[in-house]
């Protein structure tokens, strides 16, 4: 039993908390250690995308995990993290959020938190995983390509919550959801489905690689993959792709 955050590495500025977490994990850092930076100069999303990380306006957190599970069982953890972030907004600040498959936390169609988990496996077994979480807290506005796609806790609630203020309740929820993901992953899937408008019956567009697929969501598989009923009437199990809701026509 660990307590997440009992080992904390704090920086005023880092290129990427996930990069340092990976370095520490490779050197043997224990499960539950966290890396927090007030600013990231090269915050990352998936496949080289950037995560806007201005000084002290958001929480930029990486958590080192070492579950004794197979890599195929680890995908539920990314959904569990989204449930935890969604719940901390709801329980601490009264903000209702949605979860876009698999783990973007949204207010309407604007992203307030992004999660990127990176791991290394040996054979079928996980060696370590880095759970990276970015949360927009104090931004007053977003410019450029983020103008219509991002939001912050301040914009949504008018509350000025510092990164350190949200950290403790968030870590408690993450640890709880993480333990559930390891021991009773079906419970995490249930909780995710309850909290997401994308989980079932949603008309969606999905970008998979260079292709676009349209369909209706039909729940999640036990590993958290999205079950999509395509327009052709076939069911597909989706493990990666960018999803968006289709507006009513």
């Amino acid at each position: 039993m660990t307590t997440f955050g009992s080992t904390a590495y704090r920086f005023n500025s880092l290129p990427s908390t996930n990069d340092l977490a990976r370095e520490l994990a490779m050197k043997g850092a224990a499960e539950g250690a966290i890396i927090v930076a007030a600013q990231q100069t090269a915050g990352r999303g998936r496949q080289g995308r950037s995560w806007n990380s201005p000084p002290s306006e958001g929480l930029y957190l990486s958590l080192i995990l070492r579950p004794s599970i197979k890599i195929a069982e680890a995908t539920v953890i990314t959904l569990a993290a989204a449930v935890a972030v969604r719940d901390v907004f709801n329980s601490e600040y009264g903000l209702e959020c949605d979860i876009k498959w698999p783990n973007d936390v949204m207010v309407g169609d604007r992203k307030i938190s992004g999660i990127l988990m990176e791991s290394a496996s040996e054979g079928e077994h996980l060696r370590y995983a880095i759970l990276g979480i970015g949360i927009n807290l104090l931004q007053r506005h977003f410019a450029g390509e983020l103008e219509n796609s991002a939001t912050s806790l301040y914009i949504e609630t008018g509350k000025s919550i510092a990164p350190d203020e949200i950290l403790r309740p968030l870590l408690l929820l993450i640890e709880d959801e993480y333990n559930t993901a390891i021991n009773k992953p079906d419970h995490v899937i249930e909780r995710w489905v309850e909290r997401s408008s994308y989980s079932s019956g949603a008309h969606v567009r999905l970008f998979i690689g260079d292709r676009t697929v349209y369909g209706i969501t039909r729940g999640l598989s036990e590993s958290g993959a999205l079950i999509l009923e395509t327009e052709a009437g076939t069911r597909r199990i989706i493990t990666a792709g960018e999803i968006s809701l289709r507006k009513a026509e």
């Binding site: 704090r10 043997g28 250690a33 966290i34 197979k70």
Partner: protein
């Protein structure tokens, strides 16, 4: 925690420009704060609470192999390899297949603009990362777990892969 480990940990953190660091293990607690031009973080009540961890494993930053997980499969493979190497056919090429441990999407590079992790003809070692498989936004690095030369890649970038699907062929 041994003093050598502690010294190396502090050196690493210093190198990275840390502002605060806290660690607590059984009978040991340390908090480092570094002064500077920027305002130091204050430890508000909402900070992660320091609780003695029952896990007896300290952070080992010295000798990175100390806490490295024992490569179970590798040791089995290594013994097989050594037996094969001892046979008269030892000059024959051995081909090793790297397979996907998970259903997901195959990426040859860390980002669309980045160089591929490996190319045909590259020499690789056990620890070499050969690709990433993404599933549910979990980006999992696949290590070679064998040393040799990459002679074939079975899948295209961004292609969906199944559990157990062949990814690379390596001449060992």
């Amino acid at each position: 925690m041994k003093s050598k480990e502690l010294r190396e940990l502090i050196e690493l953190l210093y190198e990275k420009g840390f502002s605060e660091f806290e660690i607590e293990r059984k009978g040991f607690r340390m908090r480092l704060t570094r002064g500077g031009e920027q305002e130091p973080h204050t430890l508000a009540p909402s900070q992660p609470i320091i609780v003695a961890s029952p896990i007896p494993v300290p952070l080992a930053l010295s000798g990175s192999t100390v806490l490295a997980e024992p490569p179970k499969q590798r040791s089995a493979e290594a013994s097989v390899e050594s037996i094969k190497a001892a046979t008269p056919q030892s000059d024959q090429e051995e081909l090793h297949i790297i397979k996907s441990p998970i259903v997901g999407t195959f990426y040859r590079a860390a980002s669309p603009d980045a160089e591929p992790f490996v190319r045909i003809g590259d020499r690789i070692e056990h620890e070499t990362v050969v690709c990433i498989i993404e599933a549910m936004k979990l980006m999992n690095e696949i290590q070679a777990e064998v040393s040799g030369e990459v002679v074939r890649c079975f899948v295209e970038n961004k292609q969906s892969v199944e559990y157990g699907q062949k990814l690379f062929e390596v001449r060992t």
